[in-house]
């Protein structure tokens, strides 16, 4: 492994931490001279500046290529009237294949069924930094609207020229341009036949305001839905190209272990087995899974293991190893916290911790790789196909144009499929397989061990409030977990907010919502304690310190739906609230819990969540995202926690790493506020943030026991 210092520190506020590839291969110069590259059938690969801005310069830097201005790069209208949209975003279950097609159909004025999306194929779609940070809706949706609007205007201009009438007299819609005066019309397909691709769209196109949407804004069902109930859809793991071999990697016994002895003489004797050893990388490929497993079992290897930190000491380690802040942005301060504390009627100093958790996407990391005449094609479930292409090009010393990454619609990711690992591994094995494709599917244990985690963290909060319940001081320190959602939405004159970097212990990266969940857990739990200290209702206390009308709106709507403040009708009942805002969207969550002290049991009865992300593009898809985030959030809130010792994950199985199942799901009410006057924001992340503090606060309401550690469940026995 050849990692730079940069890769050991978590990038704090950017949408995504960039994990370095796990492997660096020592390919000789001769290898890449062998590569001869007539161009791939590249159709309009282009770069888009708005997508590029999402990513800070990584090891590869920015791509200085020209911006895509050709309509053909983003949109194609076929002679049969089929409209094809092109976007570098990946479909990972969040339904962008549907919402992006809706957007094009809506703006262009064609039937939804006539639009098809080509997504996440580095040879076919415009450059895209990645599918993350809840960015598809706020950046790709307007981009495709502008393209569709420009295409529509061009079609109108063409018809106007043909009929010799003024363009503004014509109407576009229903897949045709019509002249109401003469009654003439021409279908888009006919108009688009000649000389369409090379035209440039005007820089600023008017696009339809949300109030005028006809296809967007409606609950359109998932594209290709039938394929998913018949088993017909092919995920990466399902691909079986002709002549394919099955690959497998021999993993080190622990993190950081290096290979000190390697003997493959017994394995070499097997027929049809490809063996690869490249530095610390050891793997094999064979025609069946059984054969490749047999080959790896015959390898005689020795590893040198190195001491590693365990979960028992992780929080004290994070505090002790915090680095001095290198960058000004890590620390925000205004007023004087000291004075604010002096003026306070109540003060509260508390510490919160958040465990490492895993994404555990049901489709494990997987890739199929094939080398043909020095060109590499990789099929892979990734959120960052272009970054994977760049890693592959770098590591195998081939030009980017000779690498193609294709993302089949993927069995979920949640921020976990950013790195190129499975693709690099499959490509390295395929490189030794003489042109035969190699498929590599990580086992569940590999998933839980060799992917990356949502980082653990410690958060210290010191605060003060005046006798009337107004915040007078707020000091917030996050160690390691990250800066997303770190800034308080509450009005307070004296405050310090600081992020402390700590060198990585476990390989860590993005996860749905990033650190916003940790920061909201600490902040909203703390706010609840402050409300209690001032003997105020927790909702009233929040509203008293809150100016933002959108955040007030989600809280007030939720209070009405939940019936806050509620009277307890049984001993052991508890109600909690938490709220927040991040990435342009707002959330308020209300929880009802029931604690039976005699049985020492806790039941989550109900969750009500209000979510607002501007104008809703697809209410059905949005409801999926919100309810999905709420349920997924139960895991990190209640029981998910990665345990580790001696460089090994102790619970790398679904039997020991508990994820939410049917019995864990309470009654759920999700309320979506549609603000047609506000540009659409993304929705993949924010709805997860307030689940944990709402539940923890409800538990306090029921028991007067304050929970300060995520996951909450190991602490629940305290009540006994």
């Amino acid at each position: 492994m050849n990692r730079t210092e940069e890769s050991f520190l978590l990038e704090p506020e950017r949408y995504e931490f960039r994990a370095m590839p796990m492997h660096q291969f020592a390919l000789g110069r001769r290898d890449f001279f062998k590569i001869f590259g007539a161009g791939l059938a590249v159709f309009a690969v282009a770069k888009n500046v708005s997508a590029m801005q999402e990513t800070a310069p990584g090891p590869h830097g920015f791509h200085p290529e020209e911006l895509a201005k050709e309509i053909g790069a983003w949109l194609h209208i076929g002679e049969d009237g089929t409209v094809t949209g092109f976007a570098g975003k990946a479909e990972i279950g969040q339904n962008v294949r549907t919402s992006l097609a809706q957007t094009i159909a809506d703006e262009l004025g064609v039937a939804f069924a006539s639009v098809r999306m080509v997504l996440a194929d580095t040879a076919l779609t415009p450059f895209d930094a990645g599918t993350f940070g809840s960015r598809t809706t706020p950046t790709m949706t307007p981009q495709l609207r502008k393209v569709a609007a420009a295409a529509r205007d061009l079609l109108v201009e063409k018809a106007a020229k043909q009929w010799n009438v003024a363009a503004e007299k014509l109407v576009a819609g229903d897949g045709k341009v019509s002249d109401p005066a003469s009654g003439k019309s021409l279908r888009y397909a006919e108009l688009a036949r000649e000389d369409f691709g090379g035209q440039k769209p005007p820089a600023e196109d008017p696009v339809k305001p949300a109030a005028q949407w006809t296809i967007a804004g409606k609950p359109v069902a998932k594209v290709d839905a039938r394929e998913f109930v018949t088993g017909g859809h092919h995920y990466t793991t399902d691909l079986r190209p002709e002549g394919m071999l099955y690959g497998k990697i021999l993993r080190p016994p622990s993190f950081g272990a290096t290979l000190i002895a390697y003997d493959d003489s017994a394995a070499k004797a097997l027929k049809d087995v490809v063996l690869v050893r490249d530095g610390d990388f050891v793997g094999a490929a064979a025609p069946t899974v059984a054969a490749v497993e047999a080959a790896l079992a015959l390898l005689d290897v020795k590893w040198n293991e190195v001491p590693q930190i365990s979960d028992q000491e992780i929080y004290s380690y994070l505090k002790k190893n915090a680095q001095p802040s290198k960058e000004a942005r890590f620390r925000q301060a205004k007023g004087s916290v000291e004075e604010g504390l002096t003026a306070a009627a109540h003060k509260l100093d508390a510490s919160y911790t958040v465990a490492y958790i895993a994404h555990a996407p049901l489709e494990p990391r997987a890739a199929v790789a094939q080398w043909t005449d020095g060109k590499l094609t990789v099929w892979m479930g990734t959120q960052r196909p272009f970054a994977v292409r760049d890693d592959l090009a770098d590591i195998f010393h081939v030009p980017e144009k000779n690498v193609r990454v294709i993302v089949p619609d993927t069995g979920s990711a949640y921020g976990g499929k950013h790195t190129s690992d499975a693709g690099l591994e499959a490509a390295r094995l395929a490189r030794a397989a003489g042109g035969r494709p190699v498929k590599l599917v990580w086992t569940r244990e590999e998933e839980f061990t060799w992917a990356y985690f949502r980082p653990a963290g410690v958060i210290d909060v010191n605060s003060g409030i005046a006798a009337d319940g107004k915040l007078t001081a707020w000091e917030f320190h996050n160690y390691h977990s990250g800066m997303s959602g770190i800034e308080t939405p509450y009005a307070v004159t004296n405050q310090i907010t600081e992020y402390h970097q700590v060198p990585l212990v476990l390989r860590s990266g993005s996860y749905r919502g990033l650190a916003a969940t940790a920061n909201h857990f600490a902040r909203e739990t703390h706010m609840d304690s402050l409300a209690n200290a001032s003997s105020m209702d927790p909702l009233e206390f929040r509203l008293k310190n809150l100016a933002d009308p959108r955040m007030r709106a989600v809280l007030e709507t939720g209070a009405k739906a939940f019936g806050w403040p509620r009277q307890k009708n049984a001993d052991g009942q508890g109600f909690g609230v938490a709220a927040g805002y991040e990435k342009g969207s707002y959330v308020a969550t209300f929880a009802e819990i029931f604690v039976d002290r005699k049985k020492n049991s806790v039941a989550l009865k109900k969750l009500v969540e209000v979510f607002e992300c501007g104008a809703i593009v697809n209410p059905d898809g949005l409801r999926h995202q919100v309810v999905g985030a709420m349920i997924q959030g139960l895991g990190g809130a209640l029981f998910e926690s990665i345990q580790f010792e001696k460089g090994r994950i102790s619970n790398a199985h679904f039997s020991s790493y508990r994820v939410p199942r049917f019995k864990d799901v309470p009654e759920i009410e999700a309320i979506l506020l549609d603000r047609k006057d506000i540009p659409s924001a993304g929705a993949g992340e924010t709805p997860i943030m307030a689940i944990a503090p709402a539940i923890g606060n409800a538990f306090y309401d029921a028991t007067k026991v304050r929970l300060t550690k995520l996951p909450l469940q190991p602490e629940l026995h305290l009540l006994g």
């Binding site: 990972i92 279950g93 969040q94 339904n95 069902a221 998932k222 839905a225 039938r226 998913f228 109930v229 018949t230 088993g231 017909g232 859809h233 092919h234 995920y235 793991t237 399902d238 079986r240 099955y246 069946t288 899974v289 059984a290 555990a360 996407p361 049901l362 489709e363 494990p364 619609d409 993927t410 069995g411 979920s412 949640y414 599917v441 086992t443 569940r444 059905d620 999926h624 309810v627 999905g628 985030a629 709420m630 349920i631 997924q632 199985h653 679904f654 039997s655 994820v659 939410p660 199942r661 049917f662 019995k663 799901v665 759920i668």
Partner: protein, 159 residues
């Protein structure tokens, strides 16, 4: 050692040559191309690989292929009849009961098994029978709704 084995899957006979302890899942996916049945954990903990063995939901990653001979096997590919979806498939489609949909085959197979043995399951019984199937996207409420819808449809059809 690879052994010749006869399997009956979705009403068709197959002859495969595999070590008898190979999990049925690998034979279905790798040998026969029936990839609708998914690998999720290989430990019988997630339900993505669920098939019907003699009419009962089983985790195909936990069944040695030798234990599946002379018993009819149904996979997700075998539910559709003459171009018409099984009522459970149709109910999942109508309820939009999937997001990434990687768990969907297993959810549908478990639900088909439940409704074959219990035509009128209560909500608790549905939850109980799907407890072994993991959905990471959090689609649980819609899956329950789909199974309830399917139960109603199937009762209506059998009346």
């Amino acid at each position: 050692m690879a052994t010749s084995l006869e399997l009956e899957i979705n009403g068709r006979k197959y002859s495969v040559n595999y070590p008898p302890d190979t999990p049925l899942l690998y034979v279905l996916r790798d040998e026969l191309g029936l990839t609708g049945t998914k690998y999720g954990c290989g430990e019988g903990m997630c339900g993505a690989c669920t098939v019907l063995l003699a009419g009962t939901a089983r985790r195909s990653c936990q069944i040695p292929v030798s234990a599946a001979i002379s018993k009819p096997i149904t996979t997700i590919e075998g539910l559709e009849k003459n171009g018409a979806l099984h009522p459970v498939q149709q109910a999942f489609l109508d309820a939009g009961a999937f997001q990434c949909a990687y768990c969907t085959s297993g959810m549908i197979m478990s639900s088909v098994s439940l409704l074959q043995s219990n035509a009128h399951p209560s909500a608790e019984q549905i939850v109980q029978s799907l407890q072994g199937n993991i959905c990471r996207c959090g689609t649980h409420p819609r899956i329950l709704e789909a199974v309830q819808r399917a139960a109603e449809k199937m009762q209506g059809a059998s009346k």
